[in-house]
Amino acid sequence: MARHSISLALTGSGGAGVMTAGNMLLDAAAASGCHGLMTRSAGPQIRGGEAAALLRLADFPIDSHDDRLDLAIAVDWENVQRFAAELALDKQSAIVADPAAGEMPAAIAAKGARLLAVPLKQIAKSCNGRPNMVALGVAMAALGLDEGFGLKAIDKTLEGRDAKTIEASYAAFRAGLAAGAALDLDCRLARGQTSHPSHRWVSSGNHAAGLGAIRGGIRFVAAYPITPASEVLEWLAPALRRVGGTLVQAEDELASINMAIGASFGGVPALTATSGPGLSLMLESIGLAVASETPVVVIDVMRGGPSTGIPTKSEQADLAIAIHGLHGDAPHLVVAPLSVADCLFTTQWAVHLAESTQAPAIVLSDQFLGQARAVFERPADIAFAGGRRIETAPGAGYARYALTADGVSPMTLPGTPGGQYTADGLEHDARGTPSSRADDHTAQMAKRARKLDGFDYGRHWAEIDGEGEIAVLSWGSTAGAVREAVARARAQGLHVRLITPRLLLPIQPARMAAALEGVRRVLVVEQSEGAQFHRYLRAHYDLPKSVEVMARTGALPFRPGEILGRIAAGGAS
C-alpha cells in the first residue's frame, strides 16, 4: 500500500558516501514530484567517524522529521551506536544491511526491526561501483521511484567526472534497484496531489539564506568560517562575484562584523554569518551599528552551546544573547526563519528591515534549518517598498542624526559633497558631534527606539494559523514539527491555534495580544534547556493563565507525535 510519508536513514562510517547517496535520493525524489527533507547526523570527525543521512519523503509539504523510521539502510555498522538514539527504529521498521559488515550492533538489534540482508559490497565490487550507489538503488526500488530520476541525480552530482566513474555508478545503482526489487520490502510513496515539480527547489537553509541576502541587496560579505554557518558564506563567495559584490575572508569575527559595518557606512548593504561563539565576539560592534545607525545583517546559525558546545547539532539557545546581549539600551532587530524555505524570505526581509531602519538585524537560523536540505516551492521574489533613506543633496544645515518624526534620519554616503559627518559609537548630537549632555543622550536614545518601534512590520511579523482556545507558540526550526502536530490535532477534531513569530525584536505587544485573543491555554515548544523563548514570552507578552512548556536541549529534534501528545493530553483535561 502506498503511503503519504516515508522516513528512512542511510548510515555508514564517514567516507562511505551515505550523504552523497542521501542527497541523490532527495534530488531524485524531488524531480519525481515528491516533497522531502534530509538532515545529516555526523560526528565531529573531519574525516571518518559516523554518519547518517536522515530522509523523509512525502506527498505533502513537510518541515520536520516524522516520529519513526520506516527503513534504514546500513552500508556498514561502524560507530553506529553513537547515533543510535537518532534512529527511531521499531518493530515495524525494516533494516537493510550487508551480512559482510558483521553482526548488527546490540543498540540497533534491541529496536526489534526486521533485518533484510543485501550484499551491498559484493554487488558493488561486481560492477566496479561503490556500495553507497547500490544502497541508493535499493532505496529507490523500495520507494517505487523511477530509475530515470536516479540516473539524473547521479549525473548532477558527478558532473565533470570521467565516464568510467559515472558508468560504474550507473551500474551499481542499477544493481541496487534489482536487489531492492527482489526484497520483501514495500515503502512505496503515494503521489498525485503534488504541484508540478518544475516550480520546486531543493536547497539547504544556508544556501537559501545566501540567495535571500542577495535578493535583499547585500553586495558585501565579510566571512570567518564556523560550523554550521560556513555554507552561507561559501555559497555567497562565488554568487557575490557573479552579481558584482564582494566577499572578503576576515581574520576573526571581530573583524568580519566591523568590515561589514565599514562597507555599509560606504553605502553597500552588508552582511556576515556566524554561529554562537562568533556572535558573542561580534556583540560589542553590533552595538556600534546601533549607535552609529549603520544597517548591517548578522546571520547566527545556532548550534548547541554554551561555549564551543556541539557545533554539528541544532539548538535554539542563542535567543537570549541575540535579544539581550548588547550593553546599554540598544534597540535592534531579531528575526528567525520558520522553515528551510523561509531562510530565504526571512534573510531578505532582515536586509530590508536593517536598511530601512538603519539598524543591525540578527537572523536566528539554526543548524537544522541551515544544513537540512528540503524540497519547497520557489519562494516568490518580493520587492519591498522602502529601503535605506539616503540624502544625496545635503543642505548647509545637514545633520546626520536629525530628530525626525519617525526616528529615521536620511544618511549621506562618503563621496557626497557637503554631507560629511563622523559616524560614532560615542553618544552624539544631531550633527554627530560627540556629546555627554543628558538632553542629547535622551533625544538620541528615544530616536533610536522610535524608528524601530514605529516601523510597520506588517503581516510578516508572525505565521499565525487557525482558531481555538488552545494555542501552540513556537519559533525557528521547531515550528516545523509544531505545524505538523497541529495539523494532526486538527485531523483529530481539536481546535488548535498556531502562533510562530518571525519577528522577535522589537516586541509586538498589540499584535501578540490580537493573536492570543480568546486563547485559554498555551503550549510553548522550544529547544532550550533554560526555556529562553518561554521566558521571553513571559517578559513581554500577556499570556493566559494556563501555560505549559516543552523546553529541552537541542541535539535531538522534536517529533510531531510527542507535541501532539501534549496538545491532546491538555485538551482532554
Binding site: 518544475s198 558584482g244 568590515m259 557606512f265 560592534s285 552609529s292 563621496g415 559616524a423 560615542l426
Partner: protein, 274 residues
C-alpha cells in the same frame, strides 16, 4: 604662474574642539592631515578617516572629511570594509599604540598581510592616555605606573618590524614635532599603493612628560628607503626607534576584489531547481 591650489589645510578642519591636552602631539598630526590632503588635492568628501578608541582616535570628528569613530581596536577592519566596498575613496585609518597594537593587534597583522590600499597612521605615545596613564605594548619595561608598579618588565613591541614582517607595503616613521615632515610622510603613504603604515611619535605631555625630550632624540634616518625587505628588517631591528623617514617601500600589488561578472540575482536560481 601656477593656479591656486584646489584646497588648503583648513578646508579639512572641523569646528569641533579637540579633547586633547594642551601640548599634545596629536594637534600637530591633525594639522598634518589637513596639509597632506590639501597637498594631494583631495576633495574632503572623497576622504574617510577611520578610528577606534583612545585620545588620538578622536581625530575623525576634528576633520571635515567623512569619518567613523568605532569601537576599541577595530579601526582597520572598518577601514578595510569601507575601502573594499568603495575603492575610489581615500581611506585613512588612525589611532594610538594601545588601540592598534594591543586590542587591535590581530587586525594590524592581517591588514599588513592583506595589503588593501589603505594608509594607517599610528600616533605612538607609549601610553594609554584616555584611561589616564597605563602602559601600552610600546611602553618601556621600567616605566612605573599605578597599574604596573615598577614597570611591566616586558620588552616593547616593535610595530615597524611587525608591519614589515606581516607584509605592509610602505613603512615609515615621523615625529609630530615637525608637522610639515609628518604631512609629507602622509602624502607619500597615501600615494603608495597597498597598505602603508606610518608611525608618528606623538608625545603625551600629561602622562609621559619625559617625552618632551623626544625632539632632541629624533633624527632623519641616515639612509634612503629600501625596497629590500631583508635590508629593511635589519635596519628596523637595529635602530633605536628614533630614525625618521620612509624606511621601507615595497612593490606588492594591492589586494583588490575580482570584478563582477554582470549576472542578475535571478541568474543564481538555476542551481536550486528540483
Amino acid at each position: 604662474m601656477s593656479a591656486a591650489p584646489a584646497y588648503v589645510a583648513k578646508d579639512y578642519k572641523s569646528d569641533v574642539k579637540p579633547v586633547w591636552c594642551p601640548g599634545c602631539g596629536d594637534f600637530s598630526v591633525l594639522a598634518a592631515f589637513g596639509k597632506a590632503f590639501a597637498e594631494l588635492g583631495l576633495a574632503p568628501e572623497r576622504v574617510a578617516v577611520i578610528s577606534g578608541i583612545g585620545c588620538s582616535s578622536r581625530i575623525p570628528a576634528y576633520t571635515r572629511t567623512y569619518g567613523f569613530h568605532g569601537v576599541h581596536g577595530r579601526a582597520l577592519a572598518l577601514a578595510t570594509g569601507l575601502k573594499l566596498a568603495r575603492p575610489e575613496l581615500t581611506v585613512v585609518a588612525a589611532g594610538g599604540d594601545g588601540d592598534g597594537f594591543s586590542i587591535g593587534g590581530n587586525h594590524f597583522l592581517h591588514a599588513c598581510r592583506r595589503n588593501v590600499d589603505l594608509t594607517y597612521v599610528v600616533m605612538d605615545n607609549r601610553v594609554y592616555g584616555m584611561t589616564k596613564g597605563q602602559p601600552s605594548p610600546t611602553t618601556e619595561p621600567d616605566w612605573d605606573s599605578a597599574l604596573s608598579p615598577g614597570g611591566t618588565g616586558l620588552r616593547p613591541f616593535n610595530p615597524l618590524v611587525i608591519a614589515l614582517a606581516s607584509g605592509a607595503n610602505f613603512v615609515a616613521r615621523a615625529f609630530s614635532g615637525d608637522p610639515n615632515a609628518c604631512a609629507a610622510m602622509i602624502v607619500a603613504a597615501i600615494r603608495h599603493p597597498g597598505f602603508s603604515f606610518v608611525e608618528i611619535l606623538s608625545p603625551c605631555v600629561t602622562f609621559r612628560p619625559d617625552q618632551r625630550g623626544w625632539k632632541e632624540q629624533v633624527r632623519q634616518a641616515p639612509v634612503a628607503a629600501t625596497g629590500d625587505p631583508a635590508r629593511a628588517a635589519r635596519r628596523l631591528m637595529t635602530d633605536d626607534g628614533f630614525n625618521l623617514g620612509v624606511l621601507y617601500q615595497g612593490d606588492r600589488l594591492p589586494y583588490r576584489p575580482p570584478p563582477g561578472e554582470g549576472a542578475r540575482p535571478a541568474d543564481l536560481e538555476a542551481e536550486f531547481a528540483a
